[in-house]
Amino acid sequence: MTHSLGSAALALAFVAMLAAAAMALVGRGGDERWLVASRRAVYAALGLLTLCVVLIEIAFARDDFSLNIVQQHSSIETPGFYKLAAMWSSQEGSLLLWAWVLSIASSLALYATRNRLREIVPYATAVMAGVGAFFTGLMLFAGGVNPFATPPGPAPADGIGLNPLLQHPSMMIHPPMLYSGYVAFTIPFAFAIGALAARRLDAAWIRATRRFALIAWALLGFGLLLGARWSYTELGWGGYWAWDPVENAALMPWLIGTAFLHSIMVQEKRGMLKVWNACLVVATFSLALLGTFLVRSGVLQSIHAFGDSTVGPYILGLIAVVVLGSTALIVSRLDDLRSEKRIDSLISREAVFLVNNFLLVALCAAIFWGTFFPLISELFTGSKSSLAAPWFDRYTTPLAILLVLFTGIGPLLAWRRVSWASAKRVFRLPAIAAAAVGVALALLTDAASSPWALALFAFATFALVGIGQEFWRGAAARRRLAGGSMPGALVGLVSRNRRRYGGYIVHVGVAVLLIGIAASSSFQTNRDVELRPGESATIDGRTVTYVRPTAAVDPDKFTFGAVLAVRDGGKRYVLRPSQRFYRPTGVPVGTIGSNFEGEQTSEVGLWAGFGSDFWTAVRPNVTAVKQRVGAADRGFRACVSGGPGTPPQCRALAAMMRAAAANPALMPAASRQIGALQLATATRIARTYLGDGAAATFRVIVDPLVTWIWIGGLIALAGALIAIWPTRRTRRRLATDTDLDALKEAKYREIRDAELDHAAGKLSDQDFALLDAELRREAVEILDREPV
């Protein structure tokens, strides 16, 4: 039932996407009926794909093992929350998620532009629907990835279950976040292609899709942050980033996306960098596809091994089409892509944006080269060689340090040009603060042992003080105009200029995050110590005592852990790291010893603080326990084999197992009884671990300021949300405005921005007078275009 209904819905969604693309192209001349029909076809695809997702989720919730996807990725005992999230732990489920999120984003974009961008929308629809058709088609035709496929033969009674490592809350949100980020970059890409195809190369397409780019960027960034957090707390190695190909694959589109978000402002305000922006959006989208491809194809050695799959070559084909097609389109439109203006001065925001773009692209290029180096070296030397973290650090560290400096410089400069005198005025305080912090850290702490980290701390101080000064001066200027209290003025300032101040908050978050990364990577202490119960060790001034071992047995896992008492100066706290040994999933009844053959996960004992984290993981020595378990399993086998001299209860057990083997209906009851018996035995054996006095190996990490990575990430996310959130007026305008209205609004905002910069002291009177006159002249030109 689900199988046929779902397959039909999926096939119809595919047809709807194809039809939408075709109708949009037919109606590109401006025939309204075709355009309305194509838009409705995209909405229909959204409805159908939503139905598919709902059907799959219902199947997971109801343990419908007649669907392959449910049988392979869930089981009766999988916790309910993870059942619902198990969809995207499968290949076919994540493809469905791709297509579904794309249909949501496309529908939103088409709804928002339903009265605007008449020339661009048809092509953009064709691109979005084309990509949507590609992914739905992949599920239908690529083989082995149809989410509604049924297993060969009759439906099994139970599923294989979800890998315990993945049963972690952040692991459940992390993949859809990354995916949504990848997918949402389709929208700016589609509109850019539309603008190129229609030769409408002003900033209209950027204004229409800027918010989507920002949403995509925020989702991707948050997804990366969640992945890092999961790695830190769940994987038992204490790190958050490993320069692994799949991590890099998600970071690269985010970096280029960051460059894009900055450089489109230059096109919006100055009509420059059009070729560059087109290239960036194509690169971002291609890198997002490449990320999807890397995850799927197994070309590169990665710790995220998702196995070779059938869809890799198709995605590679799509990337080739996107890159070649877009390049050809950009080249053929070079004449239309000429800049309308030139950069006036090197002391201006657009000049800083250029530098920031250069740094971000260089960062991405270095990461790209390192990630694909195994393939490159194989091409030239015949052997696959790979680059390790130190190589990546060598390039990313200096580039990141320069970036954080420009994170501070950018917000301090106004558009177009700033006189040297006003620049000096706004730079004075941040520069003094940065120098003071740098000198103080060098003299009072051991920060000087890592010059890179010291430079980053100084530059980050510059950025934080600079942005703080921006907020202060802006709020003070607003208070002079509107009165009220300083906090009130600050709220008013931010809520009236969400894009600008939201962006500044993102900068604060990034600076804080980079401080956390620099401190925790440069000044980390980590040690492996072997302790017996009662013994202590001192790590970085903290005394850690192994108080006693712990052991627990659950039907699905054994847990062996430790109680650690830590004395850190005057602070005392208790940590309970443990290691879990899961029974292999999908095996009905095994031996007790099979628990040591399944997955193992570390439960980290973590004391998180604003100053530093104390991170512990334990590797218990379970050799003795394993031996006893082995003996128990052997005893059990001997017991039920019913040889001479077996006690009567053994004979009863053996009879029950024989009966169950003969009559499947008795199997569940027999399994339950044996399971209970094993559990009781296992519990008894596990308790012996408490008395063993065996030494356990502890990995102990003192990680300074690592908490600020998460805090910085959340600050950046909050800033992005502020910048994304539309004001009531923009919401109304989105629905009714024409292109000309949007243009007027943009120019009006520019004038207001300049006024704010002037009031906040960023522009001298003379600078402002010049700029204001220019802007007003441009505004009059726009008004003259109004049809009378």
Binding site: F306, R342, W369, S385, A388, E597, N621
Partner: protein, 133 residues
């Protein structure tokens, strides 16, 4: 200086920096990289050279040895030869018999000695379904 010429100079500087970065990337990557080899290839190569060994842990071969581990690895697609490995350092959670690993190290007296904290274990595949243990 006329603006046209100034722009040209800026462009040349930017391109120069880009070219320098590219050259640095190429140059350092070839010298800093370590070759990836499978156990059978390492056994037949010169001892003492550092490699990224990629192989599969032979099930049942893992022994704890003080703070370290000793185990044997085989080529990813099986094969008759297995190589002894000694390693001390962080052990990722998914490590166990049957798993694919990457370990940086060198062959010393017939034993592949891994560098500290370089053991990488492939995450259990989310997208393949076989229980490979």
């Amino acid at each position: 200086m006329d603006p046209q010429r100034k722009r040209k100079i800026r462009l040349v500087i930017a391109l120069g920096v880009a070219v320098m970065l590219a050259v640095a990337l190429v140059y350092t990557s070839f010298s800093a990289s370590t070759e990836a080899k499978e156990p059978s290839q390492i056994l037949s190569s010169v001892p003492g050279t550092t490699y990224d060994m990629t192989g599969k842990v032979v099930p049942g071969s893992v022994r704890h040895d003080g703070e370290g581990l000793r185990f044997r690895v085989e080529d990813r697609d099986g094969g008759a030869e297995t190589m002894a490995v000694a390693y001390a350092g962080t052990v990722p959670d998914p490590f166990r018999g049957g798993r694919e690993i990457v370990l940086t190290g060198a062959l010393e007296h017939g034993v592949f000695v891994g560098e500290r904290d370089t053991l990488v274990t492939k995450c259990p595949s989310k997208f393949t379904t076989s229980n490979d243990a």
